[in-house]
């Protein structure tokens, strides 16, 4: 793999990429801290469904869409069905695994390349169980054709349930919900709840549907009855009318990944959904943490003046937000540790925060980012790294940690 630099003298050719070697320092640091003896559950990491897109397209139900997809895929690749976004997450090759992981040689008897590659990086990061999400499909909520989202969601869910999740007990997923089609969303939950490795369902946040729309109530009721969480996974939309004002990817990412989840979370709370579905477990993924105190303070301050606009609430908005769950990554480990400490206090991190790596993406966080937070108790750090997720997702960890 040739990496072009600013000057040909600095061009580099790197072959034989091995994610285990690439991450060997992560393994060494985990061993130094004894993380192998602790439960680590990664609630948000990714594979590239485009590595298996041809087989996934074969699962499309609609014969017309399947015929179109297969022929278009032959010359256009995954863009046959997927909405991509402008941008260069790898920063022009600076984060080198983007280019290299696709060609990584992975041979493990009895395992697909997909599964073997995932287990390789999990072992390096010291992750016991991982909740896998797709990558380019994170933009699928922006597709103008709801039937494409619905068909591809079911195709992907069938593919991962038949080909990935059953092959190793350490793999889990919260399956993709085609939220632009509320009926298909409900049907996905009904069909796939209880399948091996399915620990909940996931809505991609970059879309323009209100989470409080009546059309979704039966899905929330079903999830509550089943005891399965719903997760909102952030992403960005550079063509959003406001975000399109940003002329750099860093801005579109830093703002975009928070603003969609912030709007959906505010809608969730102000419309009183926590009162309607008090046992439904809600998770907000990949927006970092700094937005949560911001939204809590804004909503509490406004609510005390405008409670007539949120009459379903019996508590302050922040009280409901403290009952929700959040994933850690990308944790804002900047120069003000006091800010991070206050954030952890405000969100009840000891019981509500879930470790996530987001591997293999450019802003991934290692488990050590949590373990090294010395202002948290050891039990709080153990909870964040895995013990809270084990309870939330009802994961039997006895195979890795025999009692």
């Amino acid at each position: 793999m040739l990496f072009h630099s600013s000057d040909p003298d600095y061009n580099r050719t790197v072959d034989d990429f091995d994610s285990g070697k690439h991450l060997r320092h992560a393994r060494a640091e985990a061993e130094k801290r004894g993380l192998d003896k602790m439960l680590v559950i990664d609630v948000d990491c990714h594979h590239y469904e485009t590595d298996n897109f041809g087989p996934i397209l074969q699962y499309i139900d609609d014969p017309n869409l399947r015929q179109i997809a297969l022929n278009t895929f032959s010359y256009k690749g995954p863009a046959a069905m997927l909405m991509d976004q402008p941008g260069y997450q790898d920063m022009g090759g600076r984060v080198m695994r983007y280019q290299m992981r696709k060609g990584e040689k992975v041979e493990a008897p009895g395992l697909s390349r997909e599964v073997a590659q995932t287990l390789r990086w999990m072992d390096a990061l010291c992750v016991d169980y991982a909740c896998l999400f797709p990558t380019p499909m994170l933009f699928l909520g922006l597709h103008p054709q709801p039937e494409i989202e619905a068909n591809l969601a079911r195709a992907y869910n069938r593919w991962i349930c038949e080909n990935v999740l059953p092959s190793n007990d350490r793999l889990r997923s919260m399956l993709y919900l085609p939220f632009n089609d509320p009926e298909a969303t409900y049907n996905i939950v009904k069909e796939f709840a209880g399948r091996k490795g399915v620990v909940g369902f996931m809505v991609v946040s970059t879309r323009y549907k209100s989470v409080a729309d009546n059309a979704y109530m039966k899905t929330y009721a079903l999830l509550e009855e089943l005891g399965l969480p719903i997760a909102f996974h952030a992403s960005y939309h550079w063509n959003d009318q406001l975000i399109s004002v940003a002329n750099r990817f860093i801005t579109a990412h830093a703002v975009g990944f928070t603003v969609f989840n912030a709007v959906h979370c505010a809608n969730w709370v102000i419309n009183g959904l926590p009162e309607r579905f008090p046992k439904l477990k809600v998770i907000w993924i990949e927006s970092g943490l700094a937005w949560i105190p911001w939204l809590m303070q804004r909503l509490d301050n406004d609510y005390r003046m405008r409670s007539s606009e949120a009459p379903a609430l019996k508590h302050l908005p922040s009280d409901y937000m403290r009952q929700m769950y959040y994933s850690t990554q990308p944790m804002e480990t900047v120069n003000n540790r006091a800010a991070l400490e206050v954030t952890m206090q405000m969100i009840n991190a000891e019981t509500q925060l879930l470790y996530s790596s987001d591997y293999p993406h450019w802003d991934m966080d290692l488990p050590t980012t949590v373990w090294d937070l010395d202002f948290l108790s050891e039990q709080a750090r153990r909870n964040i790294l895995g013990e809270t997720a084990a309870k939330l997702f009802n994961i039997d960890v006895s195979a890795r940690f025999p009692r």
Partner: protein, 126 residues
Amino acid sequence: MQDVFVAHAAELAGEGERRIIVHGAREVGVLRAQGRLHAFSNHCPHQGGPVCEGMLIHKVEEVLAADHTYHGMRFDSTRLNLVCPWHGWEFDIATGRTAGDPRFALRRFEVIERDGDVFVRLPAAQ
């Protein structure tokens, strides 16, 4: 301190050539950049990535006119950065300091060329 063999000098003669050596628990990258040899710890101060395995690339700067208007970006051919391949933290090869937050820096070691060989001077292995 001890001098640890890295490579024959001829193997590191070309601009951009590099070697990573392991000495005890320590990994050190030795690179030829801007005409001289540099040696840095191969651990990024951010999250510990293998920084010396990353890209060498000139620093990017904005082109601003005297009237403060913006006219694009370009490479500064006088400033070369070493980039951690895990997250993209960039380090000025001349100072070892991070481009994004100069309070952080790579640990630098002395490089010695002797009798056609290259050595790096390291604290005794732990």
